[in-house]
Each structure stands twice: as C-alpha cells, then as structure tokens.
Amino acid sequence: MQRAQVTTTQPSLAPARKRRGWRRWTALVARGALALAFIATLLLTVTPTGRAGVRAALILPALLTATEPPPLLIAGDPIRHTQRSIASQDGPVYLDIYAPTMPPPPIPGTRQGLLLISGVGDNRGVPQFVNLAQSLARSGVVAMTMTTYTLMGYTLAPATVDAVVQATLALQHTPGVNSRDVGIVGLSAGGALGAMAAADPRIRDTLGFVLTFGGYFDATNLLRDMGRRALMVDGKLVPWQPDPVPIQALANTIALTLPGADQSLIYSGFNTINGLSLSPADQARLSPAGQAAYHLLVGDEPDRVAANLAALPPQGHTLLASLSPSSVVAQIHAKVYLLHDQSDIYVPYTESRDFAAALTRLGHPHEFVEFSIFQHVEVKSGLGIGQTLHDGWSLYQILVATLGAGA
C-alpha cells in the first residue's frame, strides 16, 4: 500500500514544485527589471547629465541619418521657425531661429541657446543644416543660425566676427534663453569665426562653450597646405587635394588685398573642377603679389610655398592673421570642443590638431575628437557598422557634454 502511494503522489508533486519554482524566478526577474527601469528612468530625468543624455540620444540619429527620427518627432517639442536680421560691422546678419513653441519648463526654468554658423555660402536651406537646427529645437534648445552677405559670397572678413558676436548677444537676450547657457557651434569656416568671437570681450565671459567642426586654426597654415597640396602629419608630408570651395573662399578673401586688376583676373579663373585656373597669358598679367597668391591657391609650385607666402602683400598677412583663431586663442575663456574628420578635403584635420595642441599648451579646457564617418561636416553614405558605432559614441559624448549645462 505504502509503495503504491509513493508511486501515485510523487509525479503530481514534482510539476507543482517546478511551477512554483518557475514562478518565483519569474517574479524575481520581473522585480529586477522593474527596479532597473525605475532607477534608470529616474536618474535620466532628475539629473542634468541624465537629461542631456536623453536629448543627445534622440538628436544623434538625426545627425547620423540627416533626418528627424520618429521618436524625436513624436516625443519632441513642437517648434516654430522665425527669421530676423540685426546690424553688425559686416552689414545685416540674417538670423533663422528654430525654437520650441512652448515656454521653458519650470525645471530648469530656461532654455539653452545654440548659435549655428554654417560657414561660407548660403546654407540656410541645406537640408542637413536645417535638420540639425530643427532637431535641436525639438529637443528643447533654441537654435539660431546666422549668415551675412560676406559669408554668402564665399568670402571671409574680420568684420564677420562682429556679426557672430552680435548674433550671440541677440541669442543671449532672447526671452526664455539662459544668457549664460549659450554656445557657438561653428561648421567649417564658421568654426574659426566662432572661435574668434569666443575671444571677444563682449561675450567671452558669458559664453557657455564654443564648438568647431571642420574649422581651421591658422589661415596662413591653411594657405600653406593648399600651396603644397600636402599636409604635415607627424613630421611627414601627406598628399592632400582640396575641394574647389575652400580654394575659391581663400581666393575671394586674399584678392581683397591685391590690386583691382588682379582681383578681376582671379575671379575670372574660378571653376567647379579645380577651383581656379588661369591661362599662362593671364597669369603673366598678375602683379608679383597676385602671382604668388595664385600659385599658392592652385598648388602648382609646391617647392616655392615659403617664397610665395613671403611675396604676399603686408595687408594679406595682416588679413590672414586677423582671420585666424591662432592669433586670439589665449583670450578664449569658454570650453572649446574640436571636431574634425580625417578625410576632410575642405579644411585639413591637422588644423584642429594644431588648435588642440595650442589649447593644451595654454592649459585651456578642451576636447578634441577625430572622426572618419564624415566628409567635412556631412555624414558619408555606405558606412560600416563598426565605424558608425565608434564615431557615433564619440559624437554622443560630445552632445551630452554640450547639452549638459542646459538640461
């Protein structure tokens, strides 16, 4: 009888025990998941760094895909786009403001402001640039883009630095924006202008940070690299072929210091294939200073770069110095973020290396990241997953750091 009882009750108890054990484990796992989710979401919403991390995580896909991702469109703020212009030493400054339609939330009570400078050319309608401004605005930032006639005309002028300062002041005085939480984000030549504005006494003590992406540090060195069609990397010359756009921008800029006849000749040689090309007869009509500038720009005398630089008019040297962050780097007080792509054919990445080295020498707080997923300031297509993850993580960290103060 006892044997029979054992054989009948044993199989029915075992599954019940198993079920109870399984339920206990399920409950433990579920409680662990709830605890983790609670701690993670609490930290992400109550700490400034956590909130910056959330914003960065939603903005990053927008930067990498050049489109606003659905989560940002659904969860982000509705935004408003307005335009206005202000006066500066460089003439009117055209501002496009992308801002959330809602007033700043009680926590933190104000919004962060970012001034975006796109560099030379009229980029106000370029989809990637508009996408950047809109994505920032949807994440709660007041994003202001700026340009001037000088920049739209592919020319760099010292007066444009005043335009950047005026735009920064305008952003700092925008209702709802924390005046001490305004940063400058300069792309390409806009990076150099932003860095020089960051050294201006009117804003240098109130500016949150300055970020340059694909910017130059020293205009003379940029012209030297252009003249020898090579970069000095770790003591070795590495071939470098610039895009026509920076050639024309530098040509427009330097031509302002040349005789009028030289200017007309140089402008007549612009093309979209190699940037600048003149017939031997036209070259012979240039003044000695004009010929030196021409050979530096077209890179056909790589062995005479030093002599050609020396042959530029004194005003040319003064202009190049006044357009270089290297001449004012010691006067920058805000933290500096330097981003550059290693395959940049607009501005050599060695420019940002030089900038970082100068900041290191000065003991100035800065961060420098070299990428390989961009071409100048635009995301390349057909990237590998490993490359995208590596550079995406670096970009995410920069986003968290720059958005952190405003979160």
């Binding site: 339920r23 399920t26 409950a27 796992v29 579920a30 409680r31 998941a33 709830l34 989710a37 609670f38 979401t41 609490l42 992400l44 919403t45 909130r51 959330v54 914003r55 939603l58 940002l72 659904i74 969860a75 982000g76 703020d77 959330p100 809602m102 939330p105 009680p106 926590i107 949807r138 994440s139 709660g140």
Partner: protein
C-alpha cells in the same frame, strides 16, 4: 499630445503586466486583480507623462511616465500587502 498619451497608457499597461509577473498586485483585489494592476500602471503612467511634460519637457515625459508607473504599482502592492498581510496575485 494624443499620440504621446496613448504611448504612456501603453507603457503603463506593460509595466502593470510586469508588476503582475513580479507578484506585486495584491490578492485582495480578487479575480480581476490583474485588470486592476494593468489599469493602475496605465493611469499612473498617464499621470506621470503629463507631470513630466509640465515640469520638465515633452522629451523627458515618457521616462517620467515609466518611473511614476513603476513607483505606483510597487507602492500600492507593498502597502496593500503590509496593511492586510495578504498574499499577492499569482
């Protein structure tokens, strides 16, 4: 805000379901206790989402919805168990 509110409700239902698996719903709620847990999670998430979008920003509101919902289902479950010394729904 309608889409976001629906998302918050959905998040709350999921959290209520996980709370059931975690045996946080009090057995005192009876045979329909599971429905109560789901409803509590959803209502708390909706309230948390609106609170988050009012105090912080819309972009952080969904995360506030999550932790408020977890807090609600956990606290209600624990309080009910302590007050009545009753087991939880299995």
């Amino acid at each position: 805000m309608l889409i976001l509110s629906l998302i918050w409700l959905g998040l709350g239902v999921v959290i209520g379901g996980v709370a059931l698996a975690a045996r946080l719903a009090p057995a005192r709620w009876g045979r329909l206790g599971w429905l109560g847990a789901l409803a509590l999670g959803a209502i708390a998430a909706l309230a948390g989402g609106w609170l988050g979008s009012t105090l912080l920003d819309r972009i952080e509101a969904s995360l506030v919805a999550v932790w408020v919902s977890i807090l609600a289902v956990s606290v209600v479950g624990l309080l009910a168990r302590r007050q009545h010394g009753m087991p939880t729904v299995e």
